[in-house]
């Protein structure tokens, strides 16, 4: 990495595209509006060795949590358009829940927020995603650093099975080359406590990560994600396959970390959305149509007096 002093400070936030936009995918452009941004075809490889821009958050370390904003985000898998012009503001220090029936593009949207979407062959996207005001697709932030700041917990727990529990927690520090002033032992304990797993594993930190139960593995993955000190944590149905105890622990963790970290969670459980989130967005995809946000706003309002009847039907459990 080049030292930040070698970089032109005025270059940092100009939003200069790093890769030239490729020709748009073969999707019929909407006739009523042509303000849609050209799709960004992010190239993963050319950003691996990018120089690191000055960290805008170092100046104000107290507010590690940064808001994440999506504007007019569309997504394609090959010719298949799965998201259309989704705009959503996920405010800092809040939990935003994404709800909606299966297949309406919630996971796709979430994966666009931390640049995982581009890993799928044939995937394309359009629009702007900003983390704390910096465009993550056109800005200077290397893709690895973007993903470090915008962590992700997946639906299926995916600890590294051959590593020990403790190694799993600190694996991200080594993978992202992050320097920490604290010792590994401190980080391991701190993150496992935050993830509500410490008491269950404190005596077997050297056991392999694969030896835990599913719910414990998921909490280990949360601890692992927290260890790299993300600004945003994305969670894709983190509790959909878990026991009630693990689910409750994870909800407690979310409530606790949202003071420091912006959380975006996809959930199919309406009670969970109401329990954990302050904001909520309802996604819906019509038959053979891409997914859109029908309605978004404070969770309480969305569940008590939604503006759209489809939202009301969904939150009352009438479809989906």
């Amino acid at each position: 990495m080049t030292s930040p002093s070698e970089l032109d400070p005025f270059e940092t936030h100009t939003g200069r595209p790093r890769s030239m936009p490729a020709p748009p995918p073969p999707s019929p452009p909407p006739a009523f509006d042509n303000t849609e941004a050209a799709p960004v075809y992010a190239r993963f490889t050319d950003t691996d060795t990018m120089t690191l821009p000055p960290d805008p958050f170092i100046a104000r370390p107290a507010s590690r949590s940064a808001g994440i904003t999506a504007q007019n985000v569309s997504a394609w898998f090959g010719d298949h358009k799965v998201l259309e012009r989704v705009s959503l503001d996920m405010a800092p220090n809040r939990v935003t829940a994404l709800i909606g029936p299966s297949g309406c593009g919630k996971s796709t949207f979430l994966r666009i927020l931390n640049r995982m979407h581009e890993l799928v062959h044939g995937a394309a996207l359009a629009g702007v995603v900003e983390l704390g005001g910096t465009d993550i697709y056109r800005g200077n932030l290397p893709v690895t650093e973007t993903r470090r700041r915008i962590g992700m917990v997946f639906q299926k727990p995916n600890p590294f099975p051959t590593m020990t529990i403790a190694e799993n927690v600190v694996s991200g520090l080594k993978l992202s080359g992050m320097k920490s002033t604290r010792s590994y032992a401190e980080i391991v304990e701190d993150c496992l406590v935050q993830a509500g797993l410490w008491n269950e594993v404190r005596n077997r930190l050297a056991a392999p990560g694969g030896s835990l139960s599913g719910g414990q593995q998921q909490r280990l993955c949360i601890a692992r994600a927290l260890a790299v000190e993300p600004h945003v944590l994305l969670m894709d149905e983190p509790c959909s396959a878990l026991d009630p105890t693990s689910t409750r622990r994870i909800e407690e963790t979310i409530a606790e970390i949202c003071e420091r970290i912006t959380v975006v969670i996809v959930t199919h459980n309406m009670q969970q959305a109401q329990r954990v989130s302050q904001s909520c967005a309802f996604f819906l995809a019509g038959e053979n149509e891409p997914g859109r946000i029908v309605e978004s706003g404070p969770t309480e309002r969305l569940f008590s007096e939604p503006e759209d009847t489809r939202t009301l039907d969904y939150v009352r459990g009438r479809f989906g």
Partner: protein
């Protein structure tokens, strides 16, 4: 076991059910064919092993233990003969080949599965398969006429600079002629044939590395290399070992290329750079024509073949066990 015995004696009616499976005809035919194929393979192996043993038995019986301790091979001259030199030299050549081939194959397999763009990947994969299909005679010719004159300079350089290591020490190593026809050069040529085999096995295992774990690493801010290190390599460890053993099996039996390169030598030695080496398969190929008319010499060669058969079989058996075990995924304890 004790659990079963703990059943109360009085509970006489509590016997395990005899499970009867009635299969439909298609299933039965399929099982028959599959079983037949398996049995045929084993039978063939048995026949080959049995033939070798039968033909060489009287020689082994007559020579006794000396067959394993005698270094020279003077069977055609009615002198003593044994595999004490050719067997270790066979292993030396094979190990040189493996030491060169495994890192190359690992990097190639990682490139094919993790780094190569899709189109390049397909092309390169079929090229690697094609390399595996090139007859070893071709490798031998190319090794003899192209590689050998170049490699002697490498040998000389290694001996000049690293001669203090016994492997690289060559006596009277001032002239280039001291370095021709060495274990090292034969090993390099054999490694060319081993690389495609190793690459194919490793590539197949690396390609099975779980996507969920790879994405987990990426979401933590890992680079591609980080993903390879934390997910792909630990997952593929069994396949790497299996591929190595499979390559070793092939290297041990390689005949024609080695025969081209080597000049026969009957003394096991540490130096891999010095002129003169041997292998069992080259021994058989080189001595065959002058031995066919002499029953003792002929069956002595068959006995040497038996030794190679047993060794190769052992190596392949270990390899297939490891590869089979690594299939089941992440838990690759070996």
């Amino acid at each position: 076991m004790t659990v079963l015995d703990a059943r109360p004696i009085a509970d006489a009616g509590d016997v395990p059910l005899r499970v009867v499976v009635r299969r439909n005809p298609a299933d039965r035919v399929y099982r028959g064919v599959a079983r037949g194929g398996g049995v045929a393979t084993l039978t063939l192996m048995g026949f080959i092993g049995g033939f070798l043993l039968l033909r060489s038995f009287h020689v082994l019986n007559a020579r006794g233990f000396a067959f394993l301790t005698e270094k020279r091979w003077l069977a055609a001259q009615n002198g003593p003969f044994g595999i004490a030199a050719v067997l270790p030299l066979t292993f030396e050549i094979a190990i040189v080949a493996i030491v060169i081939a495994v890192p190359v194959a690992t990097v190639a397999a990682l490139f094919l599965t993790e780094y190569a763009p899709r189109r390049v990947r397909r092309l390169l994969t079929s090229l690697v398969d094609l390399l595996a299909a090139v007859p070893s005679l071709i490798y031998g010719l190319w090794g003899l006429f192209y590689l050998q004159p170049h490699l002697v300079h490498v040998s000389k350089w290694l001996s000049d600079h690293l001669g203090f290591i016994p492997f690289f020490h060559v006596q009277n190593g001032t002239a280039l002629s001291a370095f021709t026809s060495s274990t090292f050069i034969a090993g390099v040529v054999v490694s060319l044939m081993v690389v495609p085999v190793c690459t194919t096995v490793m590539r197949e295992v690396f390609a099975q590395a779980p996507q969920g774990e790879k994405e987990g690493a990426l979401a933590l801010g890992a680079t591609k290399w980080g993903v390879v290190r934390t997910v792909v390599l630990p997952f593929g460890r069994g396949g790497m070992i299996g591929g190595t053993m499979l390559g070793l099996g092939r290297a041990l039996g390689e005949t024609i290329a080695v025969t081209f390169i080597i000049s026969p030598f009957f003394q096991p030695r540490a130096s891999i750079l010095a002129n003169g080496t041997h292998s069992i398969s080259a021994l058989i190929a080189l001595n065959f024509s002058e031995s066919v008319s002499n029953p003792t010499a002929r069956d002595g060669l068959i006995a040497a073949g038996l030794a190679l058969f047993v060794v190769t079989l052992g190596v392949n058996a270990i390899a297939s066990t490891i590869v089979a075990r690594s299939r089941s995924g992440a838990s690759t304890e070996i």
